[in-house]
């Protein structure tokens, strides 16, 4: 990350609303070409941090830079580099898709043939052709999300900020929008927020974990899992659920959760082992040995990335963890 130029550079951001301390000194970087996931529970301060970056809110203290430009000092230039999909995707519902995209292009300083080409490309990318002349308010939620994405990427920005891009969509549309974001992530620098771990896992190479206005972790999900000191493993064996659970607990698993049953006669549990003292490989070896010694016919023992719950349980303690990549 050191060698890469930072597209986003935020340091020591503080923001209070009345007596709510939304951000208590948050700093992070996003390098060129990175896709970074901002992760945290409701009220963690994700949107607040993003609104400061986008120039919608001013920070009480700290600096936010986009492509090296301080957003507070030169907002217009900084915003030129930014494409932004705000949380809950506000749009002018009384406008037609076509008119709105033309307005958005103009607002970004595009005009004439350049604007037309940019709009055409954005429409093609986001698959908006079929609702081109429709009122935005009459579009389905999925299409509205696409309109929000289209206005954000019209001007080929250096940075895309997407605040909960799949929030409130049905599962099918979640998949489609995720696919779109994944494609965008191949060529662009993206900062996206979510409180769904699997989404960030699917899209982002790196995770910044916020909790109660503080950054509690920063690194790839695998690194965070290691840092968190837990090893979630999916364990399946040919036996009934109760005896597998007992065996796992006997083998040292700290938490266990039953997974939906799949094959005939087999049962699966998601178990977490603590790996703090002896390391992941040793922990695995011990666990497998213990389970086989218990007489189980193991058919699966596959380590997983940490769940959001376990990450928060272990990482959101006062001393923050930083993982450099």
């Amino acid at each position: 990350m050191m060698s890469r130029e930072s597209v986003v550079s935020a340091s020591a951001l503080v923001k209070t609303f009345g007596d709510v301390r939304a951000l208590r000194g948050v700093g992070f970087e996003v390098g060129t070409g990175e896709v970074v996931g901002f992760l945290g529970p409701n009220g963690a301060g994700k949107s607040t941090a993003i609104r400061i970056l986008a120039g919608f809110l001013g920070a009480d203290s700290g600096t936010a830079k986009i492509c090296g430009i301080d957003v507070a000092l030169d907002p217009v230039s900084a915003k030129q580099h930014l494409g932004y999909l705000p949380e809950s995707n506000p749009l002018y519902t009384e406008m037609r898709v076509q008119d709105f995209l033309q307005f958005a292009a103009g607002a970004r300083g595009l005009s004439g043939g350049v604007a037309r080409a940019a709009i055409d490309q954005a429409v093609e990318r986001t698959g908006l052709a079929s609702v081109w002349g429709r009122l935005i308010g009459e579009c389905s939620k999925g299409f509205r999300q696409r309109v929000g994405l289209a206005q954000a990427l019209l001007h080929e920005p250096d940075l895309l900020i997407l605040d909960e891009p799949t929030n409130g969509l049905d599962p099918l549309q979640v998949v489609e929008i995720r696919e779109l974001v994944r494609e965008l992530g191949r060529e662009k620098t993206v900062l996206l927020t979510s409180h769904v771990l699997s989404e960030v896992e699917a899209l982002a190479g790196r995770v910044v974990l916020l909790h109660q206005g503080e950054k509690v972790a920063d690194g790839s999900l695998a690194e965070l899992t290691t840092q968190a000191g837990v090893m979630p493993v999916q364990v399946s064996a040919i036996c009934d659920g109760a005896s597998l659970a007992a065996a796992c607990t006997e083998a040292g698993a700290e938490t266990i959760r039953e997974l939906p049953n799949h094959a005939d006669g087999a049962s699966s549990w998601l178990c977490e082992w603590s790996v703090s003292s002896i390391g992941a490989a040793q922990t695995q070896a011990h666990a497998v040995r213990a389970l086989t010694d218990a007489g189980l016919t193991l058919i699966e023992f596959s380590p997983q990335n940490a769940t959001l719950e376990s990450l928060f349980r272990t990482l959101s303690r006062p001393s923050s963890v930083e993982v450099s990549s």
Binding site: R51, A54, F56, K79, Y84, P86, Y92, F103, A107, R108
Partner: protein, 239 residues
């Protein structure tokens, strides 16, 4: 010019919205109704638009807050404010754009009142000087009222509240001359009140007289509230 871009967006939205048509029709319809039906025009037997222009400041009290109430309040309510404020546009262009948008709608609305002078001219010998002056004054007074209304729209997210405060504000401002001429008012204060009165600066226009001081009055009120509007956003961004 990004301000025009925003103004055009306002107009485009207006074209697609039935509310805007009602608004545009309101001023011509009500003024024509008052002027020809209820007003003393036909009794007087003189071809003059004095009564129409006399009525205009009071119509503005209702109509202009209705034009401006949505402007910012609706952006706040729907959240599109966040889009607008994160596009690379200067605050000045945003405020000016909203202003031009509303001013354009007022111009369109006033345009449709042209039937009144045309009718009068067809009935008698109309002196066009006061008519041109009156419309010029109406646009200037309208500009001041619009920037006042926009400022109030920026300060609330409820359109009805924005309308109510602007309407009551304008009405009070129009009535300063009553306070100025009241017996209890000391003459020195009275002169100040009269100079500060909102529609008092309009009537010379309607007589065909363009007084520099009246122009300056409306322009300064306009600029003052547009600046206040900008400051409201600066303040909100930081808080």
């Amino acid at each position: 010019m990004k301000a025009f871009l925003l103004a055009k967006r306002e107009w485009k939205s207006a074209v697609d919205s039935p509310v805007a048509y009602v608004l545009l029709a309101l001023l011509p319809a009500v003024s024509a109704a008052f002027f020809f039906v209820m007003g003393p025009f036909f009794d007087r037997g003189v071809a003059t638009l004095r009564d129409f222009f006399g009525l205009l400041p009071w119509l503005f009290v209702m109509v202009i807050p209705a034009i401006t109430m949505r402007a910012w309040a609706e952006e706040r309510r729907s959240g599109t404010e966040e889009l607008l404020m994160t596009y690379p546009m200067r605050l000045r262009d945003l405020v000016l754009g909203k202003f031009l948008g509303a001013w354009g709608l007022l111009a369109a609305s006033l345009f449709f009142t042209a039937g009144i002078p045309l009718t009068v001219a067809s009935l008698g010998d109309l002196d066009w000087g006061p008519v041109v002056g009156g419309y010029l004054g109406a646009m200037l007074m309208g500009a001041a009222a619009i920037s006042f209304g926009l400022f109030l729209s920026a300060s609330t997210r409820n359109q009805v509240v924005a309308w109510l405060i602007s309407a009551v504000g304008l009405m009070t401002w129009n009535m300063l001359d009553f306070a100025a001429t009241a017996e209890a008012t000391p003459p020195a204060l009275g002169r100040w009140l009269l100079a500060a009165d909102f529609d008092e600066h309009f009537f010379a226009f309607a007589r065909g007289v363009v007084d520099f001081r009246d122009v300056v009055f409306y322009l300064s009120v306009t600029v003052f509230f547009l600046c206040l509007n900008g400051l409201t956003f600066e303040h909100r961004r930081a808080s």
